[in-house]
Structures are given as C-alpha cells and as structure tokens.
Symmetry: C2
Subunit: 246 residues, 2 copies
C-alpha cells in the first residue's frame, strides 16, 4: 500500500493538540476525517511529534498508508478542500518508501517560541504569541540559554506526564533573538521531553526579567527536580518548525 508523507501547517488555537482525543477536536482527527472523506479509507496518520493543546505547526511531518490510486498532488488538494474551514493545511505531499516513518525515521526536530514583549494587549496575535509585559533582556536570556545546550538530564524541564524512558537529551541549539518588541527562541534537538521547550522558555523569561541569573538557571538544571522549575511558558507561543530525516 503506498505511503504518503505530508507537510502540515496548523493553527493550534482551536485544537486539543495534535493527537486524537475523545473530548475535543484534534489536528490528527481533522486530517484523518478528510482522508476518509476523500478515499473511503480509515487511514491513521503518524506525526514527527505530538503537540499539546494550543501549540502550532509550521511544517509538521506526518505519513499515512493509503490504498486508493491517487496522485500525491490531487490527494493534497482534495484533503485541503475537505478540511475547510479548519485551520489546517497540507503544504506538500509525496510518496515515500514503505519503511519511512514520520516519527521513527526523524533525526531532528526544531521549534520556535514567540514572545511579544509589550504592555499593550494582543490583537492579531492573541493565542499565537506569549505576551510578557515586563521588559526582557534578550542578551541575558541568550547567554543563560547556552547553559542548557548539550547533553543533560532535563528532569527539571520535564512534565509529570512525560512518557519518555529517560530524561537524558542532547539539546543542539537554544538561541534567543530580539526584533523590536518580538523575541524568538529557537530550539533544536533529536527529540524533546514533554513540555521541555515551554519549561526552558519559562526559565529564560525569568532570566530576562532579572528574577533569575544565568547561574540560577544552571542550578535549576543541575537540581534534576521538577520543583526547581521557575516557570512553564504557555502553549500560545510554541511552533513546531521542522522535522529532519537522514
């Protein structure tokens, strides 16, 4: 049965998250329902990552096995038409090898976390960025962030619901960039723990506000204790950016 890979953009605001849930709409269900409408098949899609409620995707990668004889471009167009008006769009679709797996073949994931550092309430971006009213020192955040880069036990930055076998992860990149009143925090790793990016961002915000020093952040990491967490950032500002494959 042909395997199709999808690149998916979605606005996470109306969803309970990527994964299908009994109690509310999900990105997975939106796409699977559209595939079923187009093909008559109950295909299951697998994604590179499972995002939480309110988290967004710029180019999530996913795959599904579909028996119907249909060209990838027509499949993409038909799924997109069926998903309206849900804010989910297939940006690209192609056939891949039978052993290519969106989750298990993935060797790199990157996220961006967006902050609006301003006093005024949000208009266009409500639910799409984290508004932080206190002035943030992005240079201090960038310097502190480098303490988290590398291989560490990230227990402090891990949700109690995290299902990973080990809290050991290698963080390849954590960069803080300011443009005007916007701050973007770029994170990349082979994989992340549940809530890891939001927990790291929350603690970087503590540093940016001057409530924590870079050493406080390092101490929190070394505590290997969720109780040492300074702050967990809300889902609003988090975007799954990219999945990479060999």
């Amino acid at each position: 049965m042909p395997r199709f890979a999808f690149t998916v953009e979605f606005d996470g605001r109306p969803f309970m998250g990527w994964q299908r849930q009994a109690h509310g709409p999900s990105v997975q269900q939106t796409i699977e329902d559209a595939i079923a409408a187009v093909t008559g098949e109950a295909a299951v899609i697998h994604a590179a990552g499972r995002t939480d409620a309110g988290v967004h995707g710029l180019a999530m990668r996913a795959h599904a096995d579909i028996a119907k004889d249909i060209a990838s471009f027509r499949l993409m167009e038909a799924i997109n038409a069926r998903m309206r008006p849900a804010p989910v769009a297939i940006l690209a679709c192609e056939t891949v090898a039978d052993d290519w797996h969106a989750r298990f073949s993935c060797t790199g994931r990157s996220y961006v976390y967006r902050i609006a550092n301003r006093r005024a309430p949000l208009t266009f971006d409500a639910g799409l960025v984290w508004r932080v009213v206190q002035p943030l020192d992005a240079d201090a955040m960038q310097a502190a962030a480098q303490h988290l880069v590398g291989s560490h036990d990230f227990t402090t930055f891990r949700s109690a619901h995290c299902q990973a076998h080990s809290p050991l992860k290698t963080l390849d990149r954590l960069d803080v960039e300011r443009q005007g009143d916007r701050i973007a925090i770029h994170a990349a790793a082979r994989s992340f723990l549940h809530h890891q990016v939001r927990s790291m961002v929350g603690c970087l915000a503590m540093v940016g506000m001057g409530r924590w020093t870079a050493n406080d952040l390092r101490d929190a990491l070394e505590a290997k204790d969720r109780a040492a967490l300074g702050l967990n950032a809300p889902p609003d500002g988090l975007y799954f950016v990219r999945a990479t494959y060999p």
Copy 2:
C-alpha cells in the same frame, strides 16, 4: 479640555470598518465605548484615516478631547482593559496641542498590502492576507508599479463611493517586495482615494500573473475610467501602517 492622541492597533476582521456604523461593530465605537466607561464622557474620536470593513491597523493615529483629569498612561491602560476581548489596543497615548488634529494635521499616510502567494489554504493568516494561488512575478509588479508613482488622476483606482473632491493625488511610493511566498506592497502618499490601494494592488496582481503588461497598467491609469480597472484586491491584506505629522 485636554486633547489626547492615540496610536491604535486593530485586527479588522470582526469590524464593519473604522467608522461607527448603525448595523455592526466598528473600531471607533469600541474605543468610544471604552472611553465612556472610563471617563463617563461621550467623547468622539477622530482618526487619520477611515478604513473599510476587514482592513487592519498597525498604528492608526486618532485623537479625542477628554475633560477628566487623568494621566495619559493611566487613560491608555484603562481603555485597553475596557476594550477586551475586542482585538483593538492603544499602543501609545499622549496629550497634544488643542489645534492638533489626527486627520487634518496629517501630512502623510502609509499602507502595506500583504499577499500570500501559495496554493495551500491559509491557517494562521485567514483574513489577514490575500491568498493568490497563481505564481506572481514580483519583479514585474515592482517595475509596473513605478508607472503609478507621482501625481496623477487616479479615477480608475477610485471607488464609486469615494467622497474626495478631486481624483488628483500624488503617490510618493509604491514598492513590491517578496520574501519567500509572501509579497508586501508598500504605498505612501499625503492621502489616498477610497479603495485606491486595493485597486492598485489588484492591478499589480494582474501584472504579476502575466495577464497584464506594465503598459496595460499605464493605459488603465490614463483611461481615467473605473471600468478600466483590472481587479480590486480584497480588504484582508490591507494594513494602515503609519500617519505622519509636521
């Protein structure tokens, strides 16, 4: 009575436009109702420009005369708190001279028009950009746009409802910039006719699609006839960017 000047950001999607309307919500009414709630006064606000339904504002300038003895910062904070959850925010507020008028003192207005040049449906940006599926040649649009810069009779690019006395306007800038699948068209003038930016953008899109040449655009301008208009772009992508004062 002290005169307060406001810098206003608004998401135009839920509004009938800037100006107060009997048949639906407006930005003006949202702000005036908040001022009334804060001050107990039926203040009237005047803006640098009146935007149509669905058009957005990044930094609209407006003013109102308010008798209440209140500092500008506190006034701004109180108005913002009262306007929630409407997507309108006062970004700045200060007292100005009695003869300063947001509309009549304004000597320059600029707009940006945003296009998403892509096949996939919109997610985050639905209602915030114009999606154009056909590939657009931004270089051709930029070259053609220069035919419109300068002093002209813009009758072709003027709505039938335009209330301006004369169709003669001086367009100071019309620049087309592409970044990835996004195209931004920057327009600046002392003032614009009703629908002028959207009409110019629509015709530039005709050029970008290859359906019009730059000469066709020049001919449309010289026709001085609304019937010569190629296309009127939708309000979705239009943003009032800035008002300038001496």
